[in-house]
Structure formats: C-alpha cells, structure tokens
C-alpha cells in the first residue's frame, strides 16, 4: 500500500491496494465493527482473502455438483432407491443404493461414466468417490451424519 495511506475518519474512501510484492511484510491495522482493532501483515491479509475466495468457489462448485447428482438420480430412478453424501477429511463420498437387493451392474456402468464426468466438471471440489451400497445394509457403509438426496424421486417419502 502506498506510503502514508491512512484512511480518513469519514467520507468517501479511495480504493486501497495491498500488493504481495510490496506489502507482504507491511503491518496493517484493521478496525472491526465493534471498534476492536487487529494488526495483520499484508501476507496474512492476502492469504485470508485467497482462502475465503477459494472457499466461496469450492462451495459454489460443491452445490452445483450436488445438483448434478440429483439430476443423475432422477434420470436413473428406475435403478436408484436412495442416495446419500458424506464429507470426509480427504474426499466426498456419494452412496447410491440400488432398487435391487443385489449389486446393479447396469447402475454400475452408469456410475463409472458419471464418476469421470464428476471429476472433470467439478475438479475444484476435490476427490469424489461414488459407491454403490445395498439399502438393506446401508448402516454399514453410510455414516450417520450423511446427507440424503431428496426430491429427485416423486415416490420418495423423504
């Protein structure tokens, strides 16, 4: 930030620029809403902004991916009975329960293709693991804090 760029107490503010190259080690006093003040270096501010922007983008892409998974469920509803997602420390798991009691080989073919689409379209989300698990043993595979996809099947009671 340019030398002596102290902000006036009132009135319109000019755009202040923090440069990684010039201000990385510069200290900035930040006034918080409750009149608290914190001191941060330019590097800390830039990294925080970067993290926040990445988080917003991740969240946007994650929501888009959930929407696409819902569409996939709807277009394969003759094969899918229920669908859940669970966030793990290093990946996102999506569990598809077939309508059949046994492993659905046709659904598996569709999931293989879909896994490629997901990895290509939503790369920012990170690793996504699509799995087919039996509804009759769902507790063995789907963590209790998982989210269930609903609304894609008009017959769904959830």
């Amino acid at each position: 930030m340019s030398e002596g760029a102290t902000a006036p107490d009132t009135g319109p503010r000019a755009v202040l620029q923090i440069s990684w190259r010039l201000d990385r080690e510069q200290q900035f006093v930040i006034e918080l809403p409750q009149e608290d003040r914190i001191v941060q270096t330019g590097e800390q501010i830039i990294k925080a902004c970067d993290l926040q922007i990445t988080g917003v983008l991740w969240s946007k892409e994650f929501r888009a991916m959930l929407g696409r998974i819902g569409e996939f469920c709807a277009s394969n509803k003759e094969h899918i009975s229920a669908c859940y997602t669970s966030l793990r420390s290093n990946k996102i798991c999506v569990f598809f329960c077939p309508r059949s009691e046994s492993f659905d080989f046709e659904l598996s073919d569709a999931l293989a293709e879909f896994s490629i689409e997901i990895s290509e379209r939503y790369s920012l989300v990170g690793r996504v693991h699509l799995r087919q698990v039996p509804l009759w043993d769902v507790e063995s595979f789907v963590p209790s804090d998982s989210l269930q996809f609903t609304g894609w099947d008009s017959e769904s009671k959830s």
Partner: protein, 111 residues
C-alpha cells in the same frame, strides 16, 4: 471379487509403470486414471471392480449382494477381462490364458 480387484490393481499398475507413472496408493492410482482420457477404458472397468470389492468385503451378506453365478459372468467377464484386454493392448504383450471358475467341491478335504 477381492482377488479380481487386486488382479486389476496389478494390471493397472503395470500399464501406469510402462507410461513412467509410479503410484504408491489407491488414491494416487485413481486420480491418474480418472484424470487422463487415455486411461478412460481402464478406469471404467477398474472402478467397477473396486466398487464391488470394497462393498463385498464388508457387506453383511455377500451372496445376497453378488450371487456366486454372476461372479464369472459379470465380475470376471464383464470387468476383469476387458480391463486385461485394454492393458494387453497398452503393454503390447500376448494374451494370457483365461481363468476358469468352478464350484468348490464341499467334500474336498484338501481345503
């Protein structure tokens, strides 16, 4: 199914090694296969073997999830052989002999 999956792991690892890609975990292997168009055919079959194997290992009733009769017709012929075929093309090697599955004789004392 687990044996078929690990055969698949070796097949895929061999193809990746030929291409100069060394992997040390399932995560790394999956990432390379998924992210490259040239491995799409391998991934399609390998993914299904992995999914089947992971669930079959822990499911309460394996026979209910995958019937014995469908292991040969589906798991081996539908996933493992095509995976092997893709790898053979990639590795430029001769076709190995086919695996034959037989029902285990219950009275066989050599078990």
């Amino acid at each position: 199914m687990t044996a078929a999956f690990y055969a698949g792991v070796h097949i895929v690892t061999a193809v990746l090694a030929k291409d100069g890609k060394s992997v040390s975990s399932h995560t790394e292997r999956d990432a390379i296969l998924q992210q490259s168009n040239s491995y799409r055919e391998l991934w399609t079959h390998y993914y299904q073997l992995k999914d089947l194997s992971l669930t079959a290992r822990y499911v309460a009733d394996q026979k209910q999830w995958v019937a014995y009769e469908s292991i040969d017709s589906h798991v081996i012929r539908r996933y493992l052989y095509p995976l092997e075929k893709s790898a053979i093309r990639a590795l430029c090697i001769d076709t190995p002999p086919r695996i034959t599955l037989q029902q285990k004789d219950e009275s066989d004392p050599s078990d």
